[in-house]
């Protein structure tokens, strides 16, 4: 059984229940805010929100950020099935999760992401879904990088071509010719710096501009006061 396809919340046990607090806050945001774009996913998505790249490129597009550090595919699936995409009518949903599922096989990762796509599609028949490819990690070549690369290949053959789903390659340009990743791009060889996030997410930004203006050529995308 592929655990990536079974929705599971993060259980803080005797802890501080931060995960459910954050989930509840996201639920409030869906009721209080009008978003054109919702980013949902893991550590990469959450960390993105604290970069200049987010402030400059994505905040002006009325985006919500529902990233949670350490989330696995099955956690994001649970959050979507428990309200985080209800009460909202975004034009685009950006889905990015998978790096924390490095204990799963590439096939399981791909199947889990496809499962999320089905659930999103049921809730939002007309929304555009943007799926940035998974990023390499670790300073030196390592087995997790290979697994991620294989998962990206599977995503390409399974996700590309689904209606209103766009796979955006963002993983090139991080592994240098000597096989290393620079801490100028990923300060801990996992999470993006300002420079790294600009490099990875600029293609996503350009796609969003296109998708948001499609069918609405008059839309004013300048930041509101």
């Amino acid at each position: 059984m592929n655990k990536c396809k079974v929705p599971v919340p993060v259980d803080d046990g005797d802890g501080d229940h931060r995960w459910i607090s954050i989930h509840n806050r996201f639920l409030s945001e869906t009721r209080e805010k009008d978003a054109d774009v919702i980013f949902i996913g893991d550590s990469i998505v959450q960390a993105l929100q604290h970069t200049d790249t987010w402030n400059e490129l994505f905040a002006p597009l009325h985006c919500l950020n529902f990233g949670i550090h350490r989330d696995r595919i099955e956690n994001v699936l649970w959050r979507i099935e428990n309200g985080e995409l209800d009460n909202v009518k975004p034009k685009v949903i950006v889905l990015h999760v998978g790096t924390n599922n490095h204990t799963n096989t590439p096939e399981e990762i791909k199947d889990g992401i496809v499962e999320i796509l089905h659930v999103i599609r049921e809730k939002h028949p007309d929304v555009y879904i943007v799926v940035p490819t998974l990023l390499p990690r670790g300073q030196y070549p390592n087995p997790v990088r290979e697994k991620i690369q294989r998962a990206n290949e599977l995503l390409k053959s399974n996700v590309d071509g689904l209606p209103k789903v766009e796979l955006v390659p963002i993983d090139k340009g991080f592994v240098q010719p000597d096989g290393t990743i620079s801490h100028h791009d990923m300060h801990d060889y996992l999470l993006l710096t300002n420079a790294g996030s600009r490099k990875a997410f600029e293609p996503v930004h350009e796609l969003l501009l296109q998708l948001l203006s499609e069918g609405e050529p008059e839309k004013d995308l300048t930041p509101s006061e």
Partner: protein, 227 residues
Amino acid sequence: MDKLHQVSHKPESRCALQDMVSGHDRYVQQAKTSESEVLFIGDSIVQQLQFSTLWTEKISALHCINFGIGGDRVENVLWRIRNGELDFNTKIKAVVLFVGTNNTDCTPHEIFEGLIEIIKEIKHRLGDIHIVLPTLLPRGQHPNPYRERNDHVNTFLLDKFCNEVNADEVTKNVHLVVIDEHIVGNDQTISHHIMHDYLHLTNSGYTKIFGKVYDKLCELLKVTPMK
């Protein structure tokens, strides 16, 4: 349980081992050629501090270097300082030590003893330098056992370092800075405006909370604080 101060741990068990060890290797190299005067060492709250306005506009002017690693526990920091991260070629004037919140499976006393062990190791390697020790921060949106644990550690720290009766070789030149006040609201909740995920600080959170650490450093280094 002696798991903390007897055995320093290289983080074998962390999922992306490669990621963390690479950070350590880089820090060891940086120490050898660094001209910094102040070292910040600890966990993710230290690591993320370097991306804050407080750091870029004020702290960095004190010639600081940041050896924070996300997820680090007390014993991981102990391992790092025993394995090269304090081997600076220039004379360090102050170390800011901030770690402990990730030791969620330890008792407050174990965490306290682990911090004492780190302080002893720093003194052993760097002599009579200043050690700045901020109190541990509360966490979680609502009252919870992790908050109580960190608070309890702080009680031990205050008793040891702010009580003249307990002054000894370990407490000498160690400056406890109370930073955990005015974070929990009257309704006992923590706002996401201070800690965006109820653990890590927002930019304004850093200014408000770590600003006190900056002020203490200025006092110790005899530097006029920037406005």
